[in-house]
């Protein structure tokens, strides 16, 4: 009888033992457990992503020849336009290099673009993240910037063998240095909890008082080289109004982000070619 009564408390005792063990367990063991479980389930997500690609392939095979001809013409037009732009960019790059050498400016950070497929979008009130189909197998580093045609997507927060996790720019945990287009003064951008209804939004703070934003002429918020993660000039969003912040010295406002952030299929990870080595600059 007494044994039966003691047995009743078995789950509570087991729970207590687990909680104490979890509390004293070294971080390395927890990290190993997390990595093991993540890697174990990664193939299922990667496989579903490849199945998606296959579905797209068969869907495109259903198009008529005429539709493919029209699409080919459009691609040929776009190709010639981008070829012209590439030539122009090369000329401008050469000009920048020449001016830099004349002025003896320090070299800027260069990036390699690694295009990656989005295999899962996990957007809710508590976290906002994407899972990409490339990881350590493509030398994706932790903390790397992630961009798309509309601007900044977020930052890599976890890298696994074949996948990586991106903290989205709309996530409440995301924070970065930014500036308004044409104004070199730095401001702070941070994500906000999303309501799920309407476009994603963020918040800008520490904006100088002389800046004025209206719905007719919204200010464009772009990335800055400060912080070292993002190259300068990438679009973050638009600010339609600014109001005095808590201190009264600076202004704050809501940033309207690109709606395509919620339905991304492909993004580019910016991998620095000359990473900053903090230790080497230490005195």
């Amino acid at each position: 009888m007494a044994k039966r009564r003691l047995n009743k408390y078995k789950p509570v005792v087991a729970l207590g033992v687990f909680l104490v063990a979890w509390w004293i367990l070294p971080l390395g063991v927890k990290a190993f457990l997390k990595a093991s479980f993540t890697e174990f389930q990664a193939p299922a997500w990667v496989a579903s992503s490849y199945l998606d690609d296959l579905e797209g392939f068969w869907a495109r095979r259903m198009h008529s020849k005429r539709e493919l001809e029209i699409a080919g013409q459009e691609i040929a037009r776009a190709k010639s336009y981008y070829q012209f732009n590439a030539q122009r960019a090369e000329t401008l790059q050469a000009e920048i290099r020449r001016l830099e050498s004349i002025l003896d400016l320090p070299s800027r950070r260069e990036y390699r673009y690694e295009v990656a497929r989005v295999i899962r979008r996990d957007l809710n009130a508590w976290w906002q993240q994407l899972i990409l189909r490339k990881g350590r197998d493509y030398d994706i580093p932790e903390g790397a910037a992630v961009v798309f045609a509309g601007g900044v997507v977020g930052r890599i927060v976890e890298v696994n063998a074949f996948t990586s996790r991106v903290e989205l720019i709309s996530s409440p945990k995301f924070r970065m240095a930014a500036q308004f287009e044409g104004d070199p003064r730095p401001v702070v951008y941070e994500g906000l909890p999303q309501s799920g209804f309407g476009d994603p939004v963020g918040r800008v703070s520490d904006a100088p008082q002389d800046l004025v934003a209206t719905t007719k002429e919204p200010l464009r918020l772009v990335s800055t080289h400060l912080g070292g993660t993002f190259p300068p000039g990438l679009a973050i969003g638009k600010v339609a109004w600014l109001e005095p912040g808590g201190t009264g010295i600076f202004q704050t406002g809501e940033v309207m982000l690109d709606r395509d952030l919620l339905s991304l299929h492909e993004v580019a990870v910016l991998i620095p070619l000359n990473p900053i080595e903090i230790d080497s600059h230490a005195p």
């Binding site: 687990f18 997390k34 479980f37 809710n124 508590w126 909890p193 999303q194 799920g196």
Partner: protein, 176 residues
């Protein structure tokens, strides 16, 4: 036997449920709909299995869910074990061979997980209206979906027991 074979089936069913719910969430990311369906995962292991098998099944399910979702690692494992301990204490009063009680418990546990997640990770956003709009929308959609998903899920687990020629009845009660 160290581990009841039904624990393996239950873990497999749990992994399938989280996989399917995340596939749906990913596909519906443009809409303000997010399905949070963790409630049914703890119900049958706690009601059907002996303590050792239940503990192993729930622990591994917790780690699996923690690796999938964005909460701190170990968060859902702890919650699952807390919920499991509660279920064990009341399992003598529950009829697990029918769906009524397990469905009710699945709803209660789902509500508990959402509340714990909100309190545990979202305290700094309590003053933000959009946070609450999203939490309430998630709560509403998830419990609406659970009305369909929970019976399907419990029947699937029992069906798998039958297919694998395993015991379809819970362990004798009140032994642990």
């Amino acid at each position: 036997m160290l581990l009841d074979q039904r624990a393996i089936i239950m873990f497999g069913a749990n992994a399938l449920l989280i996989y399917l719910s995340q596939l749906i969430n990913s596909a519906m990311s443009v809409w303000p709909v997010y399905l949070f369906l963790l409630g049914p995962m703890v119900v049958l292991p706690a009601l059907y299995l002996r303590h050792q098998s239940y503990f192993i099944c729930t622990l591994i399910t917790g780690f699996w869910v923690d690796a999938t979702l964005g909460a701190p690692f170990g968060f859902f494992t702890s919650l699952f074990l807390v919920a499991g301990a509660f279920m064990f204490s009341i399992r003598i009063r529950v009829r697990p061979e029918h769906n009524y009680h397990p469905i009710l418990l699945a709803h209660l546990l789902n509500l508990f997980f959402i509340a714990a997640l909100t309190l545990g990770t979202g305290r700094e956003y309590f003053g933000v209206a959009s946070f609450w709009i999203q939490v309430l929308t998630t709560l509403f959609c998830s419990h609406l979906a659970l009305l369909v998903v929970a019976p399907w899920f419990f029947n699937l687990e029992r069906q798998l027991f039958e297919i694998c020629h395993l015991e379809t009845e819970p362990e004798d009660l009140p032994r642990l």
